[in-house]
Amino acid sequence: MKIRFLKGIYSLAFFMLCSFAHAQSVSGTISDASGPLPGANIAVKGTVNGTISNFDGEYTLNGVSSDAVLVFSYVGYVSQEVSVGNKSLINVILVEDANSLEEVVVVGYGVQKKALITGASVNLKGEDIAALNTGTAMEALQGVAAGVNITKNSGQPGAGTRVTIRGLGTIGNSNPLYIVDGVAVGDIDYLNSSDIASIDVLKDAASSAIYGSRAANGVVLVTTVKGRKDSPAKISYDTYYGVQNVYKNLDPLNAQEYMYIMDEGRVNDGFAPNDWQAILSDNPWLENNYPGLGTQLGEEIWDKLQNGWEGTNWINEMTQDNAPVQSHAINITGGSEDIIYSFGASYLEQEGMIGGNITNAGFKRLTTRLNTQMVLKKNEEHAIVTIGENFTYTNTENRSVAAGNIYWNDLHNALVQNPLQPAYWQQSIDSNVNEFGFTPTLDGLNTGQTNPLAVLNYRHNYNYGKGNKVIGNVFLEIEPIKDLKLRTSYGIDSWFGHNRSMNPTYHLGLLYSDDVDGAQQSQYLGSNWTWSTTASYDRELGDHKLNVLLGTEVLQNQINNEVGGSRNNLLFPGNPKYAYVNNTQSPESVSDINTWGADWAAGGGGLVSYIARAQYNYKEKYLFSATVRADGSSNFAKGNRWGTFPSVSAGWIMSDEDFMSGTSDFLDFTKIRASWGQNGNQSIPNFIYSSQIAYVFPGYFFGDTKPVSGTTSYPAKVTNPDVTWETSEQLNIGFDARLFNSKLGVTFDWYKKTTIDWLLEAPILGTSGAGAPFINGGDIENRGIELVLNWNENIGDFKYGVTFSGSHNKNEVTRIANTDGIIHGPSHVLSQGTSEVSRVEVGQPIGYFYGYETDGLLQNQDEVDAYVKPTDGSPYFNDLRPGDVRFVDQNQDGLIDEADKVYLGNPNPDFEMGIQLNLEYKGFYANTTLAGKFGMQVMQSYRSFADSFDQNYTSDIFNRWHGEGTSNTIPRLSTISNRNTQYISDIYMHNADYLRINNLTVGYTFGEILKEMNAPISNLKVYAAVNNLHTFTNYDGMDPEVRFGHDASWASGIDLGLYPQARTVMFGLSVDF
């Protein structure tokens, strides 16, 4: 840079001498959105006269005639032309060119010009991600990256996302590989969006094949913010503050509605309506333990009901309005000639809407990051020795509430709890039943219906823990001769943290009491290291350009330690401040004490890889690329450890051909791409290949040692030493085009991704005598298309842009290597006692919904009489009545049984789309992002319809069948278990198509005004934003986006009462110094 700068000075001096007499001198400053831009080109159009901006972005150009036009340009920015006229000061702000073909993007182990990419990838800039103000960066990709399916695990702060690239290819771990600055990490939720310079998602196999064994689910490459050479320190501060509210709440029945509906169920079954007064006053547990209170509680409730009390809305009791969220981020970037640096610190604090005011639920994250790079040796042409580091430290505290299955879901508890029980009861405190005044169980109604606020409190309030991560790398780059680069990088992914909890005592009912208190403490510490070494060489021979890269990489599990212990009987009962293991009484029995400790990495293990890539192009018109990566994984037996993953790709920039010259006035750029490659998956536990003798606890009890069992062991699994790599193979064909002066961009891709030798634990015959082994036992096919259209135009000061992305994916399991051909989902999902909802089966998409098809409800006795077996004309069931479900007898054998269960629906969307709109006018701007998913279904059950008849309903139940023509979907009410609800059928299923306005931001940038004021601030931006502004959907639940799939990670779309999504209203400020 110094050389070029000097050259600039010389040429400037030369021009000064030559053309002094004819013309004027023009000077000014060139900057971009983040400050002065050194090294920008300034040229007088149509002449050789020109210069380069200096270190402070300043330039002076002499000998410019008044009718000249100056052209300001910089790689990656939109060039600007300014007529000189009589101006002597011309300041220019260059805008980055989103469609720049010169722009470089990150590929594995290097960068490449965007125009020359032959695979399918998505590139996103950190600032665009940060502008969406999401808690984690991946959330911001929803609706933005075609073919990348992002689903929030729930609305809970810190809950994370599920990321599926181009369809599920496995029922195991389907997460993509995340690489941050060259280091593989589990996810990127530890980063603040402000730390991210760019995210590149590698979707096709050829792009990701350089990551071989771990790339079957795609690769997400993250580059953190780096400094910039020769630029003064830029200090920026970004903040926002917002409030979160439940976007859409459900409406449980109030006390009067509840009693009416419960009674209707009883009357339908021929029982007398409930004697509510008697039920409420009959609380034997309370009465026995606190004589008088059982009756008193019931009478007080009955009196309140008589006076118009509408009961407790448990959801309202549990949720907090205006739960705050705030974020602060400081970034400092800069650099001198040889050193660049970037420092970032950020803090995010998000309170939970549920439980936020009961247990202080919420998520806090502090990150600090320092990236530096320095040139140690150089010659006139290039740097010879460069070293650097990128490190991020993150500290998180996540206080969550339960958001899982029907036994572990606080919101579900609130939905199903009867409204007759008050949330709090003063007598509870006065009579020492409960220190917080939680109302005890109304066990005359149901001993199982415990106060959900008490459960939330005692389950979550006394857990304290923090997690830390240190992730980063140090690297050395040597360029001994020009264009030959040797780079070695040592990275670590490390984590440590501690947890502490108090087990409190409580007594609120027969089934909700705990007499024994205790304390638990645990600590964990772990680290993996990655050492990568690459050599790359660029060679240009005339129009031929070749780049070759060779490398090795070793990943080792270094340490994965966890130790902990717990003891019963606190010395300071009920005071969590003192709840440490030392502060407990001496153990009296073996059950009073528990300890554990292991280093899961002590046995070693890791990956060893060899990498090779060649990229060739002719005149930047014909593009070829080939990679091969060989990986050895310790997860497999010797002999099966190594897998080789090749890929090839090619591109043809058609628009550079002469025969395309006829279209060049509207078609700026056309490229056709095709790629094929293979990737691997090795994510199974170690030693699966050998038969492990597993120790079980407890084991079996011989002698008089009860309650302590003897040491007990047995072979855990059937041995499969042949287990080896799962391979994903993908063919991708696509094209990119830019039209109308690059205003319109089009990207289209078609792909077919086949997963073969899929690693799975398929059920085996019981006679095998041990657990099912992992086998390479299945194939899956994903096919899809992706289309991205964008339009950007400037009309004077008005700039606008529209991006539309759409993707379609079809997922199908094509082989499961057992005779059943099925992997069953869990039972007891929608209700206790109901059978599986989700399945994996040959010929169907992963996790499809399985059950009985129904044909509406029997509306009247005639329809009941007509619902008979085709075999003998007798009724299907003896107890059929109007209001019952008409199940479809698929095989017409006169039985409604297992053989009649069919495909009901698919939780995976057929089509996803995203729309982004950006408007800008003289500093004012507005952006919005919409995301939609279509063609998927959700199985919804907000209560246990098949059992637990005292559970509350939502007001949807008013749409039940209660007479001919009143409903064709919700069967008659009942107080006993019956097949209407016991059988999993499509009455539980709903279409969940939706289009959501994920974000709307309106703001103003004070750029120009500040410049004129000569303020010490270079940029100031204020904005207001709303996340989750509106969801267009016919789905009647809280949210159509349902990640939850019970115990099976591959299942989804089961709505048992989700942690609701927030609508967040935020105000933010960005300031640069």
Binding site: H507, E588, Y700, T712, S713, G769, D820
Partner: protein, 569 residues
């Protein structure tokens, strides 16, 4: 070109320097490997415990005692309105596919683990671990014989419920074989038992160290031989209609009634087992007043009951139990453990009073309510009546405060042998008796049932002896213990004696099946209350099922149709 050579040289160095496989070798620090297992007595101890561990089944319906209780004519379905599955089993409907899959797979897990011990132990050199080669050989005889017994135990469990099943008897046997015939399956069971009897050292029960309690011994194998003989011959004769008096062996031979009687005679004369003087002292309710230090069960005080305990001849609690021969051992559960509730006796939880938490009889799920016919036809003079059935609304029994109308199939009578027992813990609250005895930290009422389930006790040896020989001696010994006069032998008298002696012990169902009485046993209608509503109860046994349950549907599918489903399912 020079540059290219340079490039190649450097990259070659890089590749060579990262010496691959040393980074890939791993050592398993948290488990043993199959290759070196079964080589020391410690391995065998652990592996044998693994064989027994397969007795536990995660699904409660796969629990032998629960399944047999619900199907028997003396227990109803019960439970709450949501406990559909209990009523389905009780009414011989298939509740859902795979109801009994855990029983199937756990039995085969136990069989495979036993196969490994049977095959690997003879080759192992245990002499360094014992004082003499003779003692080492005796140890081997014990473990091989015990493994043979356990294999027979699991095949018998399978055969009683499913009929003929696939036979896997060596480590390398193919696993995808078809179901063996009923007779082939029983031949395997009989042969294993016979070899076990011949192999296990004949140490009498009082001379077996207390630390070995829970392990099967020679006498247990002899008793099981009689049970298997009676079941097979009875089933073939009365259900299959093929009059059979011999138990086949794998080698083509067979065992006659006389052979089996000889085993029983051996057991009676040499085992050292004997009847507990008071039948009621076999059951934990007899200890509750001692545990509570208070008269919480007035009836037990009046009757002077005192528990014999459950850890054998020198138990932790109780006076010494010489009657119990073979049990499923239970302790406490913990929800934190994997399948943490299977280590507690769920029969006690599931058949205890529904929604009534009394002292000393605690709360359970109210399954398997007792057929009132049993109460009304049973002579009050027989102390086993009140010793077996819990009558509600009786202050003397601690059930005066019983609140009715909480469950289905309510008859007012519950299982007293296996039930929830609790009393005050000195702080005003109630805790399970076993929780207090063992000072266990987790008082969860679902996990507190550390009562062993008795598979075989000496009274059965006596009654089986009577039944096989057609003589009254054994039967009258059992009657004498109950304070009843001696009578002469008849099958009807024996049937009644078994009903009264073993009610709710998981034997009744198999008795009525082998006697062929199952076809008529359910021809009755009872008046019951379903959660407060009066209703009639009439189970619907289907003779075409021949007393068998369905083969798990998933297993049928996984076998690719090699397994034929049982008739009627």
């Amino acid at each position: 070109m020079k540059k290219i050579k340079y490039f190649i040289a450097i990259t070659t160095m890089i590749v060579v320097s990262s010496c691959g496989d040393k980074y890939l070798d791993t050592e398993n620090l948290y488990g043993k490997s199959l290759e070196t297992y079964y080589s020391t007595p410690t391995d065998i101890e652990e592996a044998m415990a693994g064989v027994y561990n397969a007795i536990y089944t995660p699904n409660v319906h796969s629990n032998e005692s629960m399944a047999a209780s619900l199907m028997s004519d003396m227990m109803l379905g019960g439970g709450g309105p949501d406990d559909k599955s209990a009523k389905w089993v009780d009414n011989f409907e298939d509740p859902q596919e795979d109801t009994y899959r855990d029983m199937w797979t756990q039995s085969y897990n136990g069989i495979s683990r036993a196969n490994a011990i049977i095959e690997k132990t003879p080759d192992a050199d245990f002499s360094p671990f014992f004082e003499s080669p003779e003692i080492a050989q005796k140890y081997k005889d014990q473990v091989i014989g015990e493994a043979l017994f356990m294999r027979a135990f699991y095949y018998f469990r399978l055969a009683k419920f499913f009929g003929g099943v696939p036979l896997i008897v060596t480590i390398d046997d193919p696993r995808d074989v078809a179901r063996a015939s009923y007779t082939e399956t029983f031949a395997q069971i009989a042969s294993d038992l016979k070899l076990a009897i011949e192999t296990i050292p004949d140490t009498s029960f009082p001379n077996i160290d207390e630390s070995q309690f829970g392990h099967a011994n020679k006498w247990v194998a002899e008793a099981y031989m009689a049970r298997v003989f009676l079941f097979y011959t009875g089933y073939m004769t009365n259900i299959e209609g093929q009059s059979t008096s011999e138990l086949p062996l794998v080698d083509g031979g067979s065992l006659s009634a006389a052979n089996v009687t000889a085993y029983l005679d051996d057991c009676m004369s040499r085992s050292g087992y004997q009847l507990t003087p008071d039948f009621r002292n076999l059951w934990p309710y007899s200890y509750v007043n001692q545990s509570a230090g208070a008269n919480v069960l007035p009836w037990a005080e009046t009757e002077g009951l005192s528990w014999v305990g459950q850890d054998g001849h020198s138990p932790s609690f109780g006076s010494g139990n010489y009657e119990t021969m073979f049990v499923q051992r239970f302790s406490f559960g913990d929800w934190q453990w994997s399948n943490g509730n299977i280590y507690t006796n769920r029969l006690c939880l599931f058949t205890a009073l529904r929604d009534n938490s009394l002292v000393p009889f605690g709360q359970g799920w109210g399954w398997g309510t007792v057929n009132p016919k049993l109460w009304s036809t049973w002579d009050d003079a027989d102390p086993r009546k009140e010793g077996s059935i819990l009558e509600v609304g009786n202050d003397d029994q601690g059930t005066g405060g019983y609140a009715p109308d909480k469950g289905d199939h309510e008859t007012g009578f519950f299982n007293k042998k296996y039930t929830a027992i609790q009393h005050g813990d000195g702080t005003g609250g109630n805790k399970g008796m076993f929780v207090q005895l063992y000072n266990w930290g987790n008082a969860d009422m679902q996990l507190m049932h550390a009562q062993d389930f008795i598979f075989m006790r000496y009274a059965d040896v006596l009654l089986m002896h009577s039944e096989i020989t057609g003589t009254a001696t054994g039967m009258n010994a059992v009657r004498e213990r109950a304070g009843l006069p001696a009578i002469s032998y008849s099958l009807d008298a024996l049937k009644q004696e078994r009903l009264h002696e073993f009610s709710f012990e998981g034997l009744r169902w198999f008795d009525i099946v082998r006697w062929g009485d199952v076809n008529t046993a359910f021809n009755y209608t009872l008046n019951v209350k379903n959660s407060g509503t009066t209703a009639t109860y009439s189970p619907n046994y289907r003779t075409e099922t021949k007393g068998l349950v369905s083969i798990p549907e998933t297993e049928v599918r996984l076998s690719n149709g090699v397994y034929e489903q049982n008739p009627g399912w």
